[in-house]
């Protein structure tokens, strides 16, 4: 039982201490969570989406609880890449954890400008290009629901970054493998999925949508079966590693994603319920392997027995 488990995994050229990441937008830049956990116990911190200029985000209410999940329509509120570099990123530089910056844009040019600005920042270990945000009117998910658009963003960002490039896919599509293959062909080093499912809830007392923006993104345990299915499909369709997420609350959930084909996993909404989730998932994953004499966590990837 004292056997050590090799917890390392690789996303392209990026080696991670363990496969557990934070899901963008649910962990800010990690500072708030450092009250509860040691960030160095994580594979990487994935930041909230960062755009070129500050974005104000959407009107309130921005969240609503649903059965085993929640809707959000935050809308990528962020202070812009300059303020991000001067603030959160400086703080992250003092932490012992790889940093993956989630890159947002209204246009291909904006994605490129953000990536270009981050290129010179040594604290940034990798980029996650978010082509799947359902909460903005322009850009966001529009790029993630069409192969040519997804390919175009990937190609353009690839041209300006030497950092490992992860593309975050939308589940709101007929065939996610098509999009995954398109971004792989343009040089993505990994794909991450799933972003939120587009959803809506209506207050039957007021007859108003529960979110000011009417629709928002559904996350949490409710979506896990859809996420696991998509990870399985995508992992079977591409050669590059897959970061799996959607409803992970426990180490067992993380194992499920890895069995389906994920190389790494991310914990999102669960952070709101228990701010120590990321860290306990990482520990639990190691314990899972130890109990079964699995020497390297990477052996779980794609190990589902069909």
């Amino acid at each position: 039982m004292n056997q050590t488990v090799n917890m390392k995994v690789r996303l392209g050229s990026l080696e991670l201490r363990n496969p557990v990441l934070t899901a963008s937008g649910t962990f800010a830049a990690g500072r708030e969570y450092s009250d509860f956990i040691d960030l160095s116990t994580l594979g990487a911190v994935v930041t909230k989406g960062v755009s070129l200029h500050p974005w104000a985000g959407n009107a309130s209410p921005r969240i609503a609880e649903t059965a085993s999940g929640m809707l959000n329509s935050i809308g990528l509120q962020n202070p812009g890449v300059e303020a991000f570099c001067a603030g959160d990123l400086l703080w992250l530089a003092t932490q012992d954890v790889p940093v993956i910056v989630n890159v947002s844009g209204h246009s291909v040019e904006e994605y490129v400008a953000v990536a270009r600005r981050l290129e010179s920042e040594p604290t940034v270990s990798a980029l996650e290009v978010n082509i799947s945000c359902p909460n903005v009117d322009e850009g966001g998910m529009a790029f993630g629901t069409s192969c040519p658009a997804a390919a175009e963003v990937t190609r353009a960002v690839r041209a300006v970054t030497s950092k490992p490039l992860i593309v975050k896919l939308s589940p709101n599509v007929t065939d996610i493998t098509e999009i995954a293959r398109a971004v792989e062909a343009e040089g993505a080093d990994a794909v991450s999925l799933i972003n939120t499912l587009l959803g809506m809830a209506i207050d039957t007392r007021t007859f108003r949508p529960k979110l000011a923006r009417a629709v928002g993104g559904l996350s949490g345990p409710a979506i896990k079966p859809v996420a696991v299915r998509m990870v399985w499909q995508v992992a079977s369709a591409v050669q590059i590693p897959v970061v799996g997420m959607g409803g992970i609350m426990t180490a067992d959930d993380a194992v499920e994603f890895m069995l389906a084909g994920a190389t790494a996993v991310a914990v999102g909404t669960a952070n709101f319920v228990d701010p120590t989730t990321t860290s306990s998932v990482a520990q639990g994953l190691e314990a899972f392997c130890r109990e079964r004499s699995i020497q390297s966590v990477a052996e779980l990837t794609g190990a589902v027995r069909l």
């Binding site: 800010a28 830049a29 969240i63 959000n72 703080w91 409710a222």
Partner: protein, 274 residues
């Protein structure tokens, strides 16, 4: 958004607490007392806790509650039963455990020079006023309370206010206690008569907005405590933004207490509950 200059940030604690008592104290309102040494000893008036009201397999977001009172190891929360979360809370009893994040948020500012304060609250807006009234009284500040409720049986914390306040005026929508009408009708006479240095307000957002305007007209600084739907409660998710003259602020860390003159009131509030 996390501000780079936010250096003096308090550390939030995650504490496993046990229920000491949980009793109905007014119509639809309970008072739960938690054994919560770490949070109880560090909380300041106007701060709140983020409670995990239901555990187990279920996914249920935490729910934010103001700290109504703190005595030694004990934390008191006054809560109104509205939906699943507060119903679950109302069912917990002595010995039950739950987990609490706190103390959270930026509470009431108490200027050193304060000599007279007016506290205006509506309904459960009385909750965050409890610690405030007690603290002000302990500092020798003269406290006036204007308290509103729909009807007499729904008035809360009457004893606490009676103890701490020099003056305690009541308004009920149905006239079953005190003034027949809204609490806002009590505010102008109190502003004129007592000449408070600060007005503290909590209650439905529309009421807070009116009182803020009344205070502003009287030239008295005013602090409001705003409610927003909260995801994380610790500043990470941006669920809880309030539009202010300084941009979007997070109610959970930059608030819930704001200077009234900073708030852009056109921002959407949580729909009223009843």
């Amino acid at each position: 958004m996390t501000c780079a200059d936010e250096t003096a940030r308090d550390r939030a604690l995650l504490e496993r607490v046990s229920v000491l008592s949980n009793d109905r104290v007014a119509e639809g309102v309970g008072l739960i007392v938690l054994q919560s040494p770490r949070v109880a000893r560090s909380v300041r008036p106007g701060q709140f806790v983020h409670l995990r009201v239901a555990e187990g397999r279920d996914f249920v977001l935490r729910r934010p509650f103001s700290v109504h009172a703190a005595h030694g190891d004990r934390l008191e929360i006054l809560y109104q039963v509205l939906g699943v979360g507060t119903r679950a809370l109302s069912l917990s009893g002595r010995g039950d455990e739950m987990d609490v994040i706190g103390p959270l948020g930026h509470g009431w500012e108490i200027p050193d020079t304060l000599s007279h304060a007016l506290l205006v609250c509506g309904g459960l807006g009385a909750a965050p006023m409890g610690m405030l009234a007690t603290e002000l009284a302990a500092r020798g500040v003269a406290v006036s309370v204007a308290q509103g409720a729909p009807t007499a049986p729904r008035l809360v914390a009457r004893d606490l206010f009676a103890d701490a306040a020099r003056r305690h005026e009541i308004a009920t929508d149905d006239g079953s206690a005190g003034h027949h009408g809204f609490v806002t009708a009590l505010v102008e006479p109190l502003l004129a008569g007592d000449s408070p240095d600060v007005v503290y307000v909590c209650g439905p957002e529309v009421m807070q907005r009116i009182v803020a305007a009344q205070a502003s007209a009287a030239g008295v600084p005013c602090q409001v405590s705003l409610e927003r739907l909260m995801g994380c409660g610790i500043g990470a998710c941006l669920s809880c933004v309030v539009s202010t003259v300084h941009g979007q602020k997070r109610a959970c860390v930059d608030g819930p207490v704001f200077n009234a003159n900073e708030v852009l009131w056109e921002s959407a509030e949580i729909p009223p509950k009843h």
